[in-house]
Structures are given as structure tokens and as C-alpha cells.
């Protein structure tokens, strides 16, 4: 496991980040006062279902929010510099160079009109000031590193000539090209076949360990996160409801929502039994009030849960946002 040196500041620190929908869409909160930190070389996972705000969070870090959303408050500190208030030009110096993003669908993330080689060398030329030949050499190295042989052929191909798995590897290669310190990966393997997914994740983990590369991994798949992450954050309705090491969150679960998620997974031991589901649905943005967001669906809620908002309570690195956290072991 990773040794956390308490003296070193975290690589990424998000402080009370608030993301709202634009006023013309109602101004509702998408991400509520969220704080998180990632250490160098750490793999942190964010889990949550649709509508929990995990994608908005990842986009907000690099100021990539779409037009309908805006960061209304909060700080983002990367490598001891505030990046939430940076000008676009300075930010562009960080994007792709110190922080890279990998998206879910490589077909839309890669430019269909440019050759793979061009897309790889583009980023490098911009950030690293390499000559064309140097960049191409590095590009070939990168492709090999991500497990794509026959680099020279590949450099001259277009995205549509590659399979989904290969495209995703190219995306990773591009993300790695300028040796970033942090990669934000939003559902990087969701669109891929199961066998390919395993390979890609294995690759990411290997690179992270070898190069002390931190990864913020966003996924709805707890199985993926359990295998990849040092720490996991569970998001619900724009907030973190539980966080801790993978072991803590998945096997010493404290929050009823996390428990609900785990119970509804059709694992092998549940064959023949009815799956325990979480009743109801995620509250729409307009209905997130000042009490516990999970109240209506919570199997162990009590009337006073409605009184006020639970805060994130920490205990030995394992935090939960609940007035009555679960105590039994899974």
C-alpha cells in the first residue's frame, strides 16, 4: 500500500467546491461544497450513479464545465497553486501537461479527421517544445508503453480504423505524453468490452505505480474501483456521503446509500434471492434541500434526520455523512 508522507502537501486539493446550473436553468446545485484531496501517486475513485455530480466535479477542476454550468465558489489547489482562478492561457499550460483528462468515449474525444500520430505529437510539441522528429520518436515510445505494438503503422492511421480498446489506449498515450502528475479519468472503460477493460485498467495501475502518477478515477462500477483505488469517495446528490480506503468503504460500510449500492449488485452469492434495491429514485436537482439528501430512500432513517444537514464525520480516515451511520461489518 501507499505510504502517505504527512509532511508533503496533497497534489490536488479541492476546497468547498460549489457547481451550480446557470441561472437561466434554475441555478440549482450540482456539486455542493465538496472537498477532496489527492496525494502524489495516489489512485482515488469517485463512485456514484447518474446525477450525483461526479462528472461535473471532474470537469470543474480544469474549468471545463459546459455552458450551462458554472463554478460558483470554492478553491482548487494543484501542486500548491490555485488553478481555479487562472487565466485561460495559464490554464492551457496545465491542461494536458500537468493534469490530463481521459474521457469515456474515445471516438468523440479523438479527432476523427487527424491521424493518430498528429494527435499525439500535437500535445507534445505544444507543451514540451520538441522538434518534429523528437516528438514522433516519443510518440512511438508512448504507443509501445500503452501496449500498442507496430507504432509506426499506427501513427499513420485514423481513429476510425482502430478498435475501441486501441483508441482508448491512444487516449491514454496522449494523456501521458507530457508526463502529467495527475490524470482525471471519467469512466474510461465503461464503453469497452470486459476483457479490454481489464487490460486498460491494469495498464493504468502499472503506470501509476511506476511513475507515481496520481489518478482520479470516476466510475459507477464499484467493482472497477475496488480493484483500482487506494481510496474511494461515494457521491450522492452532489455531495460526498462516504469516503475512506477501498477496504473501509466497501467492507466496513457506514453509509446506508453505499450499503444499498453494494446490496443491489448481483454478486454470485445472491443467486436465487431477490436483490435488495434502494427504493425510489435520485432526487432531482430542484428538490435538494437542507436536510439529508438520502432521507426519503433511506431504510434506516429517523424523523430527526430531516432536521438539518448531516456533516462529514471523520474517524481514522473513514468519513461518513450520516446522523446514524451503520456499524455492522458487511
Amino acid at each position: 500500500m501507499l505510504e502517505l508522507e504527512k509532511k508533503v502537501n496533497p497534489l490536488l486539493k479541492v476546497d468547498e467546491l460549489q457547481v451550480n446550473l446557470a441561472k437561466r436553468f434554475g441555478g440549482y446545485s450540482v456539486v455542493s461544497n465538496l472537498s477532496l484531496s489527492i496525494e502524489q501517486g495516489e489512485i482515488v475513485g469517485i463512485a456514484g450513479e447518474s446525477g450525483c455530480g461526479k462528472s461535473a466535479l471532474s470537469l470543474a477542476i480544469l474549468q471545463l464545465l459546459p455552458k450551462g454550468m458554472e463554478r460558483s465558489s470554492g478553491k482548487v489547489v494543484f501542486d500548491e497553486r490555485r488553478i481555479d482562478e487562472l487565466s485561460l492561457r495559464k490554464l492551457q499550460g496545465i491542461r494536458g501537461k500537468e493534469i490530463s483528462m481521459i474521457f469515456q468515449d474515445p471516438m468523440t474525444a479523438l479527432n476523427p479527421g487527424l491521424k493518430i500520430g498528429t494527435q499525439l505529437t500535437e500535445t507534445m510539441s505544444k507543451h514540451l517544445n520538441l522538434s518534429r522528429r523528437e516528438a514522433q520518436g516519443r510518440a512511438a515510445e508512448l504507443l509501445e508503453k500503452v501496449g500498442l505494438p507496430r507504432a509506426s503503422e499506427l501513427l499513420n492511421q485514423y481513429p476510425h480504423e482502430l478498435s475501441g480498446g486501441m483508441r482508448q489506449r491512444v487516449m491514454i498515450a496522449i494523456a501521458l505524453s507530457c508526463q502529467p502528475k495527475l490524470i482525471i479519468a471519467d469512466e474510461p472503460t465503461t464503453a469497452l468490452d470486459v476483457t479490454v477493460q481489464a487490460q486498460i485498467l491494469q495498464l493504468l495501475k502499472k503506470i501509476s505505480r511506476e511513475e507515481k502518477l496520481a489518478i482520479l478515477l470516476i466510475s459507477h462500477d464499484l467493482g472497477v474501483l475496488s480493484q483500482m483505488c487506494d481510496r474511494i469517495l461515494i457521491m450522492y446528490a452532489g455531495e460526498i456521503v462516504e469516503q475512506g480506503t477501498a477496504e473501509d468503504v466497501l467492507h466496513r460500510t457506514k453509509h446506508p446509500y453505499t450499503r444499498g449500492l453494494l446490496s443491489s449488485m448481483p454478486t454470485r452469492d445472491k443467486k436465487g434471492k431477490v436483490l435488495q434495491t434502494i427504493e425510489g429514485t435520485v432526487p432531482p436537482l430542484s428538490e435538494r434541500g437542507s436536510a439529508c439528501a438520502f432521507y426519503k430512500r433511506c431504510p434506516v432513517s429517523r424523523p430527526d434526520c430531516l432536521q438539518s444537514k448531516p456533516m462529514l464525520q471523520e474517524g481514522q480516515g473513514h468519513a461518513v455523512r450520516c446522523f446514524y451511520p451503520l456499524v455492522k461489518e458487511r
Binding site: 470486459v194 476483457t195 477493460q197 466497501l250 449500492l261 449488485m265 448481483p266 454478486t267 436483490l275 434495491t277
Partner: protein, 269 residues
């Protein structure tokens, strides 16, 4: 002895890709579905599982081979016999958003199959629609809603309900829960199990998710590049996979086990 409900014999499907190239999506497979069971069909992209499912549902013409239903060859039926076969075999699409007419309200969507088969009067049909809504756990308030106004889980329920309106015996489901969040997925799986008991249904369940397939299915057929490489009872398949591809598939599963981080080491390529 199990009663064989549906059987595929040497089923093949060829697609033309470009001027001279032909892709063999499904290559001479044979499959048996037993009455009352849930047969899983797993594979990754390019395995041919969806194509097979569509052929079994008669939505796609096989290039070769035949499909037998209760012993009768249904691959080449015409007219009234074809219609009768349609009544018994139904299909649930993967993406309800594209599989349901965006211009029709929920009540119309559910009424359509009945109207096409000329079942009962208008009033009787509406009663059946209301009953079905209750069965799938949707309030009748939704009768006048449009598909885009519903959530993903609700849409999929409608997709399933629509297939069940004319009371088929055999339901073919293509990745019915793949697009859903884990908690919604569980609701739909529970629903499917309940409906199966209630209406005495046989399922052909196509999926790429091994956990789901293990949970839902009695037997599992594994497909790879257009062929069936292995068919076994679920427990046996997981305990004792025979074919190297099956082993590879199982090895790629990422489970939440106490030994976190153990599985990824297994997935060697």
C-alpha cells in the same frame, strides 16, 4: 427431460460490408432453449450475440440454418403462421429510448401490440394496459406521458411491458439492464424474475455482464466471434470453465472481494 421450447440449428448470418467483403456475424451456431429456463447469451462486441438474439426473435432473417419453435420451423413462415409465431416470441430492445416511438404516449405504446393483433375492443385494450402498468409497478398517472419524460428505469419497464402485452411465451432480452445504474438494474432484474414466475415465461438473456448473467440465468452460452464456445449451467461455468475464452472472460471480472486489488493481477494478456 427438459422440454425444448426453441432451437436454433446451424444458424448463420452474413453481412455485406463494402463492395466485396462479407462479415460472418454468426457462424453456424446451434442452441437449445428449455421451457421455463433463463438462458444467458454472453459475449463481447463482435461475438454475434445480439445478431443471434434478433434472429431468434425473427427480427432478422438468417442467411442459413433454421429456427424451430415447439418443433415447428419458424424461420420460413408466412402469413397467419408468421403472425402466430410473433405472438409467442417477443423481444425487448437494449435502448428503450430508441425502441419506443417518441411521438406516442405510454398508453399508446402499450396498446399498439394489442391493436396490431386486433385483441379486444378499445376499452378492453385500455383495461389491459392499465393492468400491465400495475404489474410493472408504474402508476397509471404515466398513461399520458411521453418516453422522454420518463426515467431510464421507467422506460425500460415500458419496453418490457410492451413485449408482454400479447402474452408471449418466450421473451428475448438484449442487454436489458446495461444502460442502467446499479440500483435501477436491481429493480429491473427483480421485476423480470417476478414476471417470469407470474407469466410462465422463458427467457433468452443477452448480456456482457457476467455477474448479471450468473444471477439471472440457469444456463449460459458463451459466444466468441460468431460461434458458441461453451454452454453450461451457470454454477458449473463459473466453477469450471472449459474454453480458454471463457476463462479469459471470467478472469476479467472485477469483483469486490476482500482481497481488493487481487483480481487485476489475474487479468494477464
Amino acid at each position: 427431460m427438459e422440454n425444448i421450447l426453441a432451437k436454433a440449428e446451424n444458424l448463420t448470418k452474413l453481412f455485406k460490408t463494402g463492395r466485396r467483403e462479407i462479415r460472418k456475424a454468426v457462424d453456424g451456431i446451434s442452441l437449445e432453449v428449455h421451457e421455463g429456463e433463463t438462458l444467458g447469451l454472453v459475449g463481447e462486441s463482435g461475438s454475434g450475440k445480439s445478431t443471434t438474439a434478433m434472429m431468434m426473435a425473427r427480427l432478422l432473417e438468417p442467411s442459413a440454418g433454421r429456427i424451430l419453435y415447439r418443433g415447428e420451423d419458424v424461420s420460413k413462415l408466412k402469413g397467419a403462421q408468421k403472425k402466430r409465431a410473433r405472438k409467442q416470441i417477443q423481444y425487448v430492445f437494449q435502448d428503450p429510448l430508441s425502441a419506443l416511438n417518441p411521438r406516442h404516449k405510454v398508453k399508446t405504446l402499450l396498446e399498439e401490440p394489442l391493436a396490431i393483433f386486433k385483441v379486444g375492443s378499445r376499452t378492453e385494450r385500455m383495461e389491459m394496459v392499465e393492468e400491465m402498468l400495475a404489474q410493472i409497478g408504474l402508476s397509471s398517472n404515466y398513461m399520458n406521458s411521453y418516453v422522454h419524460q420518463l426515467s431510464g428505469g421507467q422506460r425500460q419497464r415500458i419496453g418490457i411491458a410492451r413485449a408482454l402485452m400479447i402474452q408471449p411465451e418466450f421473451l428475448i432480452l438484449d442487454e436489458p439492464v446495461s444502460a442502467l445504474d446499479v440500483s435501477l438494474q436491481a429493480q429491473i432484474l427483480n421485476l423480470l424474475k417476478r414476471l417470469q414466475k407470474q407469466f410462465d415465461l422463458t427467457y433468452l438473456f443477452v448480456s456482457h455482464d457476467l455477474n448479471v448473467v450468473h444471477y439471472m440465468c440457469d444456463r449460459i452460452a458463451v459466444m466468441y466471434l460468431g460461434e458458441i464456445v461453451e454452454v453450461q449451467k451457470s454454477e458449473d461455468l463459473f466453477a469450471n470453465p472449459q474454453h480458454p475464452y471463457t476463462k479469459m472472460l471470467l478472469g476479467s471480472m472485477l469483483d469486490i472481494s476482500h482481497d481488493t486489488q487481487a483480481n487485476l493481477q489475474l487479468a494477464e494478456v
